[in-house]
């Protein structure tokens, strides 16, 4: 065990830090769930890609930097430290990308990965349907193979980034007599295909990053099938594993929130406002939790680098980070006191930062990527080996 970074890792960090300091936009970009913000974020992705920092851990041939996972964690730490924008193409680069690398044909890798790395093509998630949320196996949308095309019918909902994305990935029932996990195929769908209609969903925060996608005799080339026919469930489980696991939630994000929370605490103390004593403990717990999450991730990465796999443990992480994130935002709102409810354009809103928006987002943490209730079942049954019902 050696938790110190090597000289090379330190050099990598310094390089990343310098580049980011020179390139990160000085002003916060508008939310990528607005049309204007989406464009601005795509522009940032191009800058990142031009600098060679868009896909740090991907192989060079697919537009990546070929860095290992430790370097990726270091890059993420620096990325958050620099206050760089959120990744508008995260569905692609963190979820679908690794899945294509594992299940894609060579042609698919060449076709999709570089444009994903450069965000020339932005991806939407198509997991949920009106009757299939956390229970993904209840999928009803169908894809019928006709020659070299799929004819697709059905509806996907809660497609994140769906309002502005170019492509959508998801599962479709290809065996009409199948039930549950069987008879599904993983298909990549261009959102400009004929028969595809996208309806943005207006959300609590007034933005519309999510969309419903209606598929009405949409025709998609069979070249867009990822993995085997009727075996899409296995592919999706790998992707969902990426979502719950390492790739989506880099620990730097939570360490950065914890750091901001500590700053907010100090500012509030300095301002002379009376602070509920329990908040001192809450901030300390948040800091400790963020450290624990980071350390656990370095442990996992070490295991992966030495040939290990991530399995059901991803569920432990999902519960931990989603509850940590929620608690940190709740604590921040308590520290903000009366200012917590103000919108950023309110005259008295100085110093409120993005905590309210972040809170709304963090509230969804226990819900998306498989509700925490389901993760607890997974832990109980697959890690603790408690009996199934």
């Amino acid at each position: 065990m050696d938790l110190r970074f090597t000289m090379e890792q330190q050099k990598f960090r310094e390089e990343a830090r310098l580049w980011l300091e020179a390139h990160v936009p000085k002003e916060n970009l508008p939310s990528f769930d607005t049309a204007e913000g989406f464009q601005a974020h795509c522009e940032w992705e191009r800058v990142l890609n031009d600098g060679g920092w868009a896909m740090v851990p991907w192989p060079v041939e697919y537009g990546g930097r070929g860095a290992n996972l430790i370097e990726w964690l270091i890059f993420e730490e620096e990325y958050y430290r620099a206050g760089a924008p959120g990744r508008v193409n995260q569905n692609g680069i963190f979820l679908l990308g690794p899945t294509i690398m594992e299940y894609g044909t060579d042609a698919q890798k060449v076709r999709f990965l570089p444009k994903m790395a450069s965000s020339e093509e932005v991806w939407a998630q198509g997991w949920s349907e009106p009757n299939a949320g956390s229970d993904m196996a209840a999928i009803q949308a169908t894809a019928v193979r006709e020659g070299d095309q799929f004819r697709i019918n059905g509806q996907k909902t809660w497609a994140s980034r769906g309002a502005y994305a170019d492509w959508l990935f998801g599962l479709f029932r290809t065996d009409p007599d199948s039930e549950r996990h069987k008879g599904l195929t993983f298909v990549l769908v261009p959102l400009d295909a004929p028969g595809v209609k996208v309806r943005p969903i207006e959300q609590l925060d007034g933005e519309a990053g999510f969309a419903e996608v209606f598929l009405d005799d949409a025709l998609v080339s069979v070249d867009n099938q990822l993995g085997e026919f009727n075996r899409g469930w296995d592919v999706a489980m790998a992707t969902a594993g990426f979502e719950r696991g390492l790739m989506l939630r880099s620990p730097a994000r939570f360490q950065n929130t914890a750091r901001k929370l500590v700053e907010l605490y100090r500012e509030t103390v300095a301002s002379g406002v009376a602070i509920r004593p329990a908040l001192r403990e809450a901030v300390t717990q948040a800091w400790t939790g963020a450290e624990a999450y980071a350390l656990n991730t370095y442990q996992t990465v070490t295991r992966l680098l030495e040939g290990g796999k991530i399995g059901a443990e991803a569920s432990l992480g999902k519960i931990f980070w989603s509850e940590l994130d929620l608690k940190m935002h709740e604590t921040a709102l308590e520290l903000l006191g009366a200012r917590a409810e103000l919108l950023p354009n309110a005259p008295s809103a100085q110093g409120v930062g993005t905590w309210l928006d972040g809170y709304l987002f963090s509230l969804s943490g226990p819900i998306y990527a498989g509700t925490n209730e389901i993760q607890r079942n997974v832990i109980a049954e697959r890690i603790l080996r408690l009996p199934r019902k």
Binding site: L204, A340, P347
Partner: protein
């Protein structure tokens, strides 16, 4: 000792319940969000007609001459309906304040108008960072920043700045004003005592609304969990969902008597009424916050959409949680009384019962 409402009180609650369920639908509430004032003069005059605005106005001034115990069940209904009209400041605070000032001129000027639904009154209290509904107020009650004086301002005697908030039903304002002898309506010990009641009545009415909000959030979650299926069963049949909702129901069950007791303490001017109100407000705030979170969780992603009703009440839970003192603020007030013994703590139990 009788801890129950009268049949008359329950009947009035039922009437207001039916009226609000019919007239103040979630769709209509969302409609008010889009208007400039955020308020509905039509609903207001209907409420006045039912006697709600003038509930605490003495009969001689055209009101019902009732008390804070009668008011509490109605406020619960207001919360259940998600109604954001300025009933707390006008009907629950200003009416009894003006009544208790015992100033014939002021009473004649304002009480009949409150009862008739022709006056809206805002209240600026330091436990709120901002003033609610000042933009439509005919009178704004405020305490002199340096002294024991209550002032009553009309809108051109102060400068208002709108502060947009997360709950579109909330209309709050920063306010600048200069005390002048002309605007003073009470002073010295009397002003101080009455101003303490302002806080008690504000927190009490807010707590009562939070009970209604909590109940509504539970109802919404139960309805959704009964209908929505996952893995072939309604999600409401899963133990995890059941237990989360049961826990919130327990919180509601034990917040409720604290609120009703506080109403009794305020109405009877019990020495510990400030502490009793703080218990009510902190427990009701916690119940509403828990209900908002669990209800959103039960709804899943769909809870995030504009079309769903859950977020209307979730926003109410959040904004009422900050209004008239947060749970933490009130807990500290309880601690100051119970632990530090700086204020009367007990109006109940063996500690208080034989002096």
């Amino acid at each position: 000792m009788r801890f129950a409402f009268t049949e008359d009180q329950q009947l009035l609650q039922q009437t207001v319940h039916e009226f609000l369920q019919a007239e103040c639908t979630a769709e209509r509430v969302r409609g008010f969000w889009a208007t400039e004032t955020g308020r509905s003069p039509e609903l207001w005059s209907q409420l006045a007609e039912m006697g709600v605005t003038g509930l605490l106005v003495p009969e001689e001034f055209g009101g019902l001459g009732m008390n804070d115990i009668d008011m509490v069940l109605l406020m619960e209904e207001v919360g259940r309906a998600g109604l954001a009209e300025p009933l707390i400041s006008t009907a629950a605070i200003a009416a009894p304040l003006i009544r208790d000032l015992d100033n014939a001129e002021l009473s004649r000027a304002w009480l009949p108008r409150i009862a008739a639904g022709e006056a809206i009154i805002a209240v600026a209290h330091t436990c709120n960072a901002f003033v609610s509904d000042a933009h439509i107020a005919d009178l704004i009650l405020v305490r002199h920043p340096q002294g024991d004086e209550i002032h009553g301002l009309v809108r051109d005697q102060c400068a208002l700045t709108a502060e947009p908030a997360n709950d579109p039903a909330r209309r709050i304002f920063s306010m600048d004003w200069t005390p002048k002898p002309l605007t003073r309506i009470a002073e010295s010990g009397r002003a101080r005592r009455l101003w303490a009641d302002v806080l008690s009545r504000g927190a009490l009415a807010t707590a009562a609304q939070q009970l209604g909000v909590t109940a509504k959030l539970i109802d919404l979650a139960v309805a959704y969990a009964t209908e929505r299926k996952q893995f072939g069963s309604p999600i409401g049949s899963f133990q995890a969902v059941k237990h989360h909702l049961a826990n919130v129901r327990v919180q509601l069950e034990y917040a409720q008597p604290l609120v009703y007791r506080a109403a009794h303490s305020v109405a009877t001017r019990a020495p510990a009424r400030a502490t009793d109100v703080s218990m009510a407000k902190s427990a009701a705030s916690e119940a509403a916050a828990a209900a908002a979170k669990v209800s959103l969780q039960v709804h899943g992603a769909i809870g995030y959409t504009w079309e769903q009703d859950v977020h209307v009440w979730m926003r109410r839970a959040w904004s009422l949680g900050l209004a008239w003192g947060s749970a933490a603020w009130h807990r500290e007030r309880i601690a100051n009384a119970v632990l530090d013994q700086n204020a009367p703590a007990e109006s109940f139990g063996y500690g208080a019962s034989i002096a």
